[in-house]
Symmetry: D2
Subunit: 358 residues, 4 copies
């Protein structure tokens, strides 16, 4: 899938206004940081009921240099784009108000990711505004770029789903995965997935050093993965000791034998022109396969694989920063495509080396 450039504006300095709802949370803070450094966005408001009046820098240290203060969500003024970083279930109840103040809404919650009300009945607690579901476009450009230009409602993907989909998508496209095989996905995630605040389980003494099964079965992201890959997955999540990062290891048993060449062909075909996918599949050195710490702070996904001939298995590795490619970065990337900006605008941070456990 090549980078589609035809929708880019001629003028790289065009700017639109944007506000962030739910800006005191982790993903809200990431959005503020990205928009503040974005050449095409002018940051208008950052709402937070709890922190209204305080400087955004007091909550998010990277924003200490700005003068922006949190405002009451009820005082939202009109902007071109509204980014919503509210908890699951909030956006679906306020989506009409969101469109009252903005032409384009980018929602980072789960509220508009799935296609049908039935899915929300099965996996969540139903849906308050099902009429919006068919208007929403999934934010992940690697699998939905063609539908994003001009989209009015963009639904950010789930972080674990994003990691998994990016790993498996080339195999689906190449027909190596066809829905008949049992696929096992084992995901390892950082503590920022739980959001700010948190209770006893996410306190430092209890959460440090864990390899903790936190969603052994029935994780809601299964629905999202299956919707986009047309195959069921047996999905399990472990919390591990990092703050940022999601790493998906997918175990695939193809019906027909595949070679390394077949796999390279599938992955290169899917991703060679993608600006935010880096391949890592063997080679030399310490970083031979995807690792979350290698993409920490960036909008990159790393994807790689290994062949296990003795078990007729393909092991697929994919790693993202759950706050970036798995949330705020993906949202900005999708907005760039939707609005015709340079795809990589505001998202050029390439990561750090060495780096510990970001």
């Amino acid at each position: 899938m090549a980078v589609d450039t035809e929708h880019e504006t001629d003028d790289a300095t065009e700017t639109v206004t944007a506000s962030v709802v739910g800006a005191s949370g982790f993903t809200g803070g990431e959005l503020l940081r990205l928009l503040a450094g974005h050449p095409n966005f002018e940051l208008a408001e950052a709402t937070s009921r709890s922190y209204a009046g305080k400087s955004v820098g007091s909550k998010h240290p990277p924003l200490r240099g700005t003068d922006l203060r949190f405002t009451e969500p009820d005082d939202l003024e009109s902007v071109d784009v509204l980014f919503a970083a509210t908890p699951h279930g909030v956006s679906m109840g306020q989506i009409d108000e969101f469109f009252d103040v903005a032409d384009t809404v980018v929602d980072l919650s789960a509220d508009f990711r799935l296609d049908t009300e039935e899915q929300y009945d099965e996996w969540y607690d139903g849906h308050d505004a099902p009429e919006y579901l068919e208007r929403a476009e999934y934010a992940l450009p690697e699998i939905n770029r063609e539908n994003l230009p001009g989209a009015e409602l963009i639904a950010g993907g789930g972080c674990n789903a994003t990691a998994t989909i990016l790993g498996l998508y080339p195999l689906v496209e190449a027909g190596i995965v066809d829905g008949d095989q049992q696929i096992v996905v084992d995901v390892k995630v950082g503590s920022s997935e739980g959001g700010a605040g948190g209770g006893e389980a996410s306190s430092h003494p209890e959460r440090s050093g864990v390899v903790r099964p936190y969603a052994p079965t029935g994780h809601r992201h299964e629905a999202e993965i299956e919707q986009f890959l047309d195959t069921s997955v047996a999905f399990t999540c472990h919390a591990v000791d990092m703050v940022r990062g999601a790493s998906a290891t997918s175990h695939v048993f193809p019906s027909e034998p595949v070679s390394k060449g077949d796999l390279w062909k599938a992955y290169r075909g899917a991703y060679e022109d993608e600006p935010f996918v880096r391949m890592a599949a063997g080679g030399s050195g310490v970083y031979r396969y995807p690792e979350p710490k290698a993409v920490a702070g960036t909008n990159y996904a790393e994807v790689g694989f290994e062949l296990d001939p003795s078990n007729k298995r393909v092991v697929v590795f994919s790693a993202i920063d759950n706050m970036m490619k798995g949330s705020a970065g993906q949202a900005v990337h999708a907005a760039n495509v939707a609005l015709g900006f340079e795809e990589t605008a505001g998202l050029d941070f390439a990561g750090l080396h060495p780096v510990g456990a970001p």
Copy 2:
């Protein structure tokens, strides 16, 4: 200071009964673990208002093998020894009730550590039962062993104070520190000091990887240190990324020149017969000075020093596990001395190598 053995019982198998008040917290759990494995204690009750009825193992994994369940604090029955692991300010209000059910009370809070009501007025919010202050004995055997046998009310030392006192005490005893010098103490502590629960600052995403000044000045343990060392200290605390451990680095500028020989003589004189103090002052290998991870899980303190001739300075290092030597282990050690048991009974765990960030 030699180990005083004259109060030890002839019968190493003598047992007394003990209960723990506030047993769902971190130090309460440590007490349960230590008492359950102690040859001279029979564990009776573990109280917790919030968890009454639940198994202690559901809260504290090391106790999964026991049948003990939390009970209501109001249902406490008579025992020989009551260990109180309640928050500061609770024991002073319930001390009469504690003595109604037990002959000996060991309190791990700050409520009976200081000598006078005036100190509590200055450093805390006053005191509800000042008449008990002179009856209380400070738990740290290294500096108060002679007063512990037969003590009825034992006051556990503060973790940071314990680390600091153990480092400086030999210099005071040897006259190298005499109250005229400015001493700077820089302490690094783990997240368990904050106790179970915790708010935003102690959530994993915010607390991980920190070197955070959390008590830059005015830490309450200054009072305790000055009370026992007869010298003022300029004390600062940093939170660092570990769960257990307190490490005190004390910078001392003696009025008279001292040699390494003088220092060794002072430390050996103070500690060579102490069962729970290990010296680490130079030598070869990775672990040349005291480190909290080398004593994690144990009741040992490591103490060491280095001489800085160009600044006429002695740098003193001391490291403990704040939950053990700094709290529950110290309490059991003091109880062993008070009741005439083998001093090291129930406290023989020597630590782990290698070990990460316990």
Copy 3:
């Protein structure tokens, strides 16, 4: 499988002499620590070519209290039991010399784990002393207790294999796993598995914070697992940010439907009398499933499971301390059984709470 007590000696104070070969490494240090605290072993020698003459405490801080010094391996004197903690491939070349000085040899390397020379040809670099293979008994009492009493050559299990086998063994015994299903095993391990020393990949800056696929396919422990479970496994290992610990998540797809009751019956049947297996399968609180940090420093394995009806899957979790249950602790446990000592002698440490990333 009940604890077999008939081989226990009447005299709990019987002692035998033991030496450790390769005592400066991580598992060697653990053996020294365990034997020094064991009521039935008298520690004779600790050999290390590199550190001969130095105190064992300079290398292993928990041993600072002992007077023992490393000795040259060539100066080994006769003992009752010899524990070998040498790298893979060393013991097979020295096994005759080992038996010259000891009646019983407990080897912690891979050299005697597999049954046949052919397996060593396939998975390792062949074998130098294949005649010993049939004399060796696998150390894991949970699956081989009946063959251990009186064993002269005991072969310690691999850490990842131990975690996996303990998780799946009850399903094999109950016939829920019968060799026809595809089983996927995803293991997360700490850095101590790589042993002392280590190169660039295990340096702190590169190794911190990782979720790193380090054995994507073809891990040698597959051979060991398949030998004992009679089923093939698709095995993948990830390095995560802890020092101690191995956690195995096994995804099993039974041919016939199973209920939670079936699973509880299988696991209780296998483990209810096992002194070193703790079940954790749901319930309330933070620690609902097995976690390596809950067993760090102990010889316990935690085992648990969850049922995934929508995928007809059983997810099995097992967690151990790779240095203890996965190596030195298992070896001592096996020696206890072999020599008729109390099974739990010297292995009673129950773990810590809270604890970080041991």
Copy 4:
């Protein structure tokens, strides 16, 4: 000290060529990353004897997107600016060759930081090219901006010295520190300070979770601090569990009483126009004082203080990313000033929140 803008070029798109010597190390990799994203530098060569021929991305994951490969240091071609990231002692022996290929040399080692040969005799192993010492300009713009424009040889500051100097400099400028007081500096540093490779002490199992006194006394950065602040410091370093970061806590006892207002005046006077210094001294929220994780990956220093009236003490906190403000970022910042580029060019990354232990 105001930002001096008069040397800035009119043309923000002017570019010069630059190469990096010693590019496979940690600071070399940081330089590559910064120069690759810098609007005014065109990256020419990255030398590494060990990795010549390999892609720089195989060593430094953030550079995976570039085509650059390591080259032999002997094949260096002429460039405008040469950055040297070689170990201490190398640059002084090759400085003539460096100037053969470049007009401007920016050296990140200790080789040109000190003013006199006598200092190198005292603190290092002497100096091979003392004639260059007076030509070298210290890289830290906050204290040496006026001498940087047009400088031909720029000497990067030491990371611990940089953190300490930035904390104390305003007090010296304001006369609050005048050289008569005893100042104690307690620094906590991450593992990247030790550079790539590393031995046993920096292996993950031994280095994880430490609070380790690694330079108790006599640290070489004392010389650098005293040179620039005209006051002696009693300096002690601890290794703590992070990869990036240096945090200096300085305990100052002013001869005359000072108020918070005096302190704010001193710090604002020194830093209010500095583009890379952020103040953090009290306030609300989690991040009230400087913390290394709040500046990880950035070129910012955070500086703050607290007053301790009872001890007549000022406690100064400063935090930097040792790889950035303490090394590669400082070098690029100095080069920007020296060459008349926008001061902040290529250094605009503001950091991450939340973030673990980078």
